[in-house]
């Protein structure tokens, strides 16, 4: 590629990609993120707790099920 072609390529790239302008954030994003998380409190129904405790207890007291569980991974 000659120098002239290189210059043309640079010009084309500059024309195609608009300047970024002010890349700095206008404000802190964390308060909005915290607000978003607070707006969606996690509610776990009782039957999910029962399932979780049952599954954990089975694995804890019968660790022999672990190799069979690996089939499902």
């Amino acid at each position: 590629m000659s120098d002239r072609e290189m210059e043309e390529m640079k010009k084309l790239l500059k024309d195609t990609l608009p300047p970024v302008g002010d890349a700095e954030l206008g404000h802190d994003l964390w308060p909005a993120m915290a607000q978003r998380l607070a707006d969606r409190p996690l509610r776990v129904p009782w039957w999910d707790w029962v399932l979780l405790v049952g599954a954990a207890a089975t694995i804890l007291f019968f660790p022999g099920v672990i190799p069979a569980l690996l089939y499902q991974l």
């Binding site: 996690l42 999910d48 399932l51 599954a55 089975t58 019968f62 089939y71 499902q72 991974l73």
Partner: protein, 137 residues
Amino acid sequence: MYKHPYLRAYLAGIAIPTVVLLVIMTGYTIIRYVYNFPIPIERVIVFPMAAVPNTWGLWNVLYVAFLEKRHVPLGLFGGVLPLLLAPSGYAVTRLLNFTVPDEVFHVVPFALPIGVIIYYLVWKYFVGFLNAELGIA
């Protein structure tokens, strides 16, 4: 942000198994090569390492594409997945002549419901969270 919903669904689906498999394989590698654990699962490892995360991703794409609008619970849909993965894992071990101890098969009636429960909870809370964060559910 709200373009390509199926791509985002796929990425949300593969995130959990990718991380979990990394942890499991790290532990297995330490046990296998540091403590000389005598089960060479390297021959069948391609199944969990390659197929499972992709299956999770495609499962989530299926959910977003067809079932979310019909208000099918994500947890229940995810809970069905072990019923496909467990036979697939068994088929891979048979195809590769990988010997599985009989004790493993004896506990399958107990392990399969546990797997379904784990998948149900993981899909409901973790994949559901990722889907919500990515704006697809």
